[in-house]
Every structure is written in structure tokens, then in C-alpha cells.
């Protein structure tokens, strides 16, 4: 069974910017169809790990395995072709293109081009608001709607794993709730998601498992439900 092999595995990962090492001996596993959180405070190294997984950074040491295959050092566009979809921090949309063109860019590669039409319909079914606004420039939509475009665009590539970096960044609290609900409901699409967030409580509420980072080191990992009740986590991150 393929399920025995984790979809994504990070082993003994060290990452540095120049001489400054910021991630130390990180280990992490994301199973098929799991929704996994990676949380921690400012500058703890969450985005750095995600950047390494999506090919934007080359780690100093250790390995990143996608279905058992080593992927560290592969360029981002090639990783997209292997099914790694990255919803980056700040969304990185094409502001002067229509919503629909933004979504269609998600199906740029051959692996998903053939099913572009059906996938577009699925995305619109998932985000009816984007259907209404499909002709408008992406740059003219609200922050929450732009986040939906970014997620929809990633779905268009038929990903095997979805990496999300701070989807709640810059959004009003009410909109954050809404985006988290959207991410939670992605499981109905049988997706595998690795979610990076500062918003620890929100993440622990919607994920299956989570990893907690501090200063580039893994400090706790476990079932999200359990972490919500863990005293150390409560004190450090939940303000209780």
C-alpha cells in the first residue's frame, strides 16, 4: 500500500541563510490526506522550512522526501510539476489579470492542463464568490477573496500536497475565521495540507496534528487536540 510511505518527510534538516543557520535538525512527517500544522512565533523558521520544501531554498543538510523521492534542491517550477503546490505568504497573485486568468495560471503545466475546464468548475463550486467576480482584476478584490484565489489557483494544479504560508496574514479576525473554515473544508477534497501559521489556536482547532517550532528547533509535536490541552502550549502560545 502506498499509504505506508508518508507523502512528505523531512529528515534532519538544517537550513542556513549564508552563514546564519536558522533551522536545526528538523524532522517532520505528513501522511496522505492529513492536515498538518507547523506553528511557532515570529522568526522561528516556519516559512524557511516551507521554502525549502517548495524548492525556493536549498537546505544545508538533511533530506526532503516526497513519496520517498529526494526533492531537496529541485527548482520550484519542477516541484510544481511533481504535485507540490505552494500558496505563498502574501498570496503572490497576478494583480492585473482577471480572477479567472489567475486561476487558469494554476493549470499552466501539462499535468493539469487537460482537466482545466472541470477543475475550474470545481473551484467555482467551492468558491462561489470567485465565480461572481471572475472577470474582475484580482488586485481589486478584498484580502479574503484574494486568499481564495490563491488557494483556488493551487487547486487548479491538481496538487498531491498543498503548502500554505500564513493564509491569515493581514486579514481581519472575522475573515481569518472564514479562511480557516475554507482550509478545514479542503479535507472534503481529500487533499493533503501542510499549514504554516502564527495563529496557533486557530491552527490547532482545524488540523489533525501539529509541530511546534522555537528558534528553529522542534519543541513539541502531536495530535492537535492534545496540544490544545497541553499546559506548556497553553502557556506559551494560547495565553492561558
Amino acid at each position: 500500500m502506498t499509504n505506508q510511505l508518508p507523502l512528505l518527510e523531512v529528515r534532519d534538516l538544517d537550513i542556513a541563510y549564508g552563514d546564519v543557520q536558522v533551522v536545526f535538525a528538523m524532522n517532520m512527517v505528513v501522511g496522505q490526506q492529513e492536515l498538518v500544522g507547523l506553528v511557532g512565533g515570529n522568526g522561528s523558521g516556519k516559512s524557511t522550512i516551507l521554502r525549502a520544501v517548495s524548492g525556493m531554498l536549498k537546505p544545508k543538510r538533511g533530506s526532503i522526501l516526497l513519496q520517498g523521492q529526494e526533492i531537496s534542491g529541485i527548482s520550484p517550477h519542477q516541484l510544481t510539476d511533481l504535485g507540490v503546490a505552494h500558496v505563498p505568504m502574501g498570496r503572490q497573485l497576478f494583480p492585473a489579470m482577471s480572477v479567472e486568468e489567475n486561476l487558469e495560471m494554476g493549470a499552466y503545466l501539462k499535468r493539469s492542463k487537460a482537466n482545466k475546464k472541470q477543475n475550474l468548475e470545481k473551484v467555482y463550486a467551492f468558491f462561489p464568490r470567485l465565480l461572481e467576480k471572475r472577470k474582475l482584476f484580482a488586485g481589486s478584490l478584498s484580502g479574503g477573496e484574494q486568499q481564495m484565489i490563491a488557494i483556488g489557483r493551487a487547486l487548479m494544479s491538481e496538487p498531491t500536497i498543498l503548502l500554505m504560508d500564513e493564509p491569515s496574514l493581514g486579514l481581519a479576525p472575522k475573515v481569518v475565521q472564514e479562511v480557516m473554515q475554507v482550509i478545514h473544508s479542503l479535507r472534503t477534497l481529500h487533499l493533503t495540507v501542510l499549514l504554516v501559521e502564527q495563529n496557533v489556536r486557530q491552527v490547532l482547532k482545524i488540523t489533525d496534528r501539529a509541530y511546534v517550532l522555537e528558534h528553529g528547533k522542534l519543541v513539541i509535536e502531536g495530535q492537535s487536540q492534545g496540544l490544545l490541552e497541553n499546559d506548556a502550549v497553553k502557556r506559551a502560545y494560547l495565553g492561558l
Binding site: 510539476d81 497573485l93 497576478f94 494583480p95 499552466y108 494544479s157
Partner: protein, 304 residues
């Protein structure tokens, strides 16, 4: 009446020349719009186009218009390879480095031309070079130079083709996406380094095409490059850097201003010499920079 007729004639000549300026500017503007690189060697590629047409005529006996079929594909490959081999290595380097590199590439190109063809002006003689259609209008007679007319038609076709490519094809969409957000494009699977090389190739094609089209009108000398680089600056700044319609507008305006300036103020020209026509363009350039620094048609698109 004399003044009016000269003015109208100047307007026509200016629009015809302006079309070619527009194409030079469009290439520079495209390169800037997608890669945020100011291509200081742009005018030198115009010169390369001129000499390529000259050589095709000399050795292959090709008419300049026919030589486009050979020169343009070569220009694309040349630009593509130049980017892959040199400019791509500088991605992520600071602005100065890239500027100097494009400047250096232009210098190398023109000096190779100098070595090969020497300093004396080269041109091609075609039987139609001096032909003009005479059009009577309200008792005036206007001349439309055949060569300039062809130049404008071919320019219009190339720019139309470029526009169709940018807005109607998959490649065009990937180019626009890369221009608007490189990281975003890369994450969708676009090989943005390759897109850069393609765009640089297209820029060189447009510059070289302008050179070929100008050859029957002008003699080529290796040092003309900086003149054309200056003109493409003026065109792109007039129109707003990175905007294709802006480059077209900017090119036409520059052509008309130069032409009207030199035909309506003969006194200035007799005093300063015919080269004064270049100054009229720069005067407009300064005025626009003073009052509308974002360009005449410029508009800022917010990055998301």
C-alpha cells in the same frame, strides 16, 4: 500656406518615422516590464539589425525587406542565447551590475561591427528608396515616402503580432504573469528564467527589425547605437516604462516632434546643424518628466 503645408508634411513624415521608434521603444519597454532591467544596449541591437540587412544585401543579394525573414529569427536566437549565457547569471545581482552588463554587451556588439565593417557609413541602394507617392490635398501636394510607408506597415504588423501573442496565447499569459509576479509565476510551474530569455529575444527582434527597416533611409555607422538607445529611453519614458500602448504613443509623439521641429524651425537648424532634430525629442522628454513623471499614459498598478 507654405508653413501649413510644411507642417502637414512634417506630421506625416513624423508619424511614419515614429512608428519605427515605437517598435524600438516597445522592445525596451517589454524587457523592462517583464524583467525590470533597463537595456542599455538596446540601440546597439538596432545597429546590428542594420548591418545584418546590409550584409544580407551585400553577400546574399537580398532585398532588405526579404532579409527580415533571415535576420529576425537570427535576432531572436541571438537575444535568447545572450540572456541564457550572460544576463541569466546576473539574476538577483544588484541593478548596477545588470545595467553595466547590458551596456557592455552593446559595446561589444558595436565594436565587433566596427572591426568587421569599418567606420565608413554603409547603406543599401534600392530602386524604390527615393520613391514617394504624391497625394494632392486642398491644393497642396503631400509626399509619402514608399520606404517609410513600408516601414510603418511592417512595424504595425509586428506590434500587432506581439500584442496577439501576449494576450491570446499561453506563452503570452506566462509572460504577463512573470511580469506581474515572478515568484507567483514560478510557483505555477512557469520556468521564469526561460521566459526572461524569450522576452530578451523578442526585444532584440524588435530592435533589429527597426534597424532593417531604417537601413534604406539611413546609413549605418557603428556609433549610431547610443543615438537609438537615447531614443528608446525617450519613447519609453514618454509612454510610461513597461507599457506597450505607451511605447506606441511615445514613439509616434517623438517622431512627430522631431519632424515638426526640424521642418518648422529651419533657422535653428541652420544655426545648430541638422542634428538638432534630436534635441526636440529631448526637450519634450524633459517637459514630460517635469509634469508627468509617470509618463503620458503611465498608470501605476498596485502589486498584490
Amino acid at each position: 500656406m507654405e508653413f501649413f503645408s510644411q507642417g502637414l508634411q512634417g506630421l506625416i513624415d513624423g508619424l511614419l518615422t515614429g512608428g519605427v521608434y515605437a517598435m524600438i521603444g516597445a522592445g525596451m519597454s517589454l524587457i523592462f516590464g517583464v524583467m525590470r532591467v533597463v537595456n542599455f544596449g538596446h540601440g546597439d541591437f538596432v545597429i546590428l539589425g542594420m548591418y545584418a540587412a546590409f550584409a544580407s544585401n551585400q553577400y546574399l543579394k537580398l532585398d532588405p525587406y526579404v532579409s527580415l525573414l533571415v535576420v529576425l529569427p537570427l535576432a531572436f536566437v541571438f537575444g535568447f542565447v545572450l540572456h541564457r549565457a550572460i544576463l541569466a547569471k546576473l539574476l538577483g545581482a544588484n541593478d548596477q551590475t545588470t545595467k553595466l552588463a547590458t551596456l557592455g554587451l552593446g559595446l561589444i556588439a558595436t565594436n565587433l561591427v566596427l572591426l568587421q565593417f569599418g567606420t565608413e557609413p554603409k547603406t543599401v541602394y534600392t530602386e524604390y528608396a527615393t520613391n514617394a507617392w504624391r497625394i494632392p490635398l486642398f491644393g497642396l501636394e503631400l509626399r509619402i515616402s514608399e520606404v517609410r510607408f513600408y516601414a510603418v506597415i511592417i512595424t504595425a504588423l509586428l506590434i500587432f503580432g506581439l500584442n496577439m501573442m501576449l494576450y491570446r496565447t499561453e506563452l503570452g499569459r506566462a509572460i504577463r504573469a512573470t511580469a506581474q509576479n515572478r515568484l507567483g509565476a514560478e510557483l505555477q510551474g512557469v520556468d521564469t528564467k526561460k521566459i526572461y530569455a524569450i522576452v530578451y529575444g523578442i526585444g532584440v527582434v524588435l530592435a533589429a527589425a527597426a534597424g532593417v527597416l531604417l537601413l534604406p533611409l539611413l546609413s549605418a555607422t557603428p556609433t549610431l547605437g547610443s543615438v537609438f538607445t537615447n531614443k528608446s529611453f525617450v519613447v519609453t519614458i514618454l509612454g510610461g516604462l513597461g507599457s506597450l500602448p505607451g511605447a506606441i504613443g511615445g514613439g509616434l509623439i517623438l517622431g512627430v516632434v522631431e519632424s515638426l521641429g526640424s521642418s518648422l524651425f529651419p533657422l535653428m537648424n541652420s544655426h545648430f546643424g541638422a542634428n538638432y532634430r534630436d534635441a526636440y525629442g529631448l526637450i519634450i522628454f524633459l517637459i514630460v518628466l517635469l509634469f508627468r513623471p509617470e509618463g503620458l499614459f503611465g498608470r501605476t498598478v498596485k502589486r498584490v
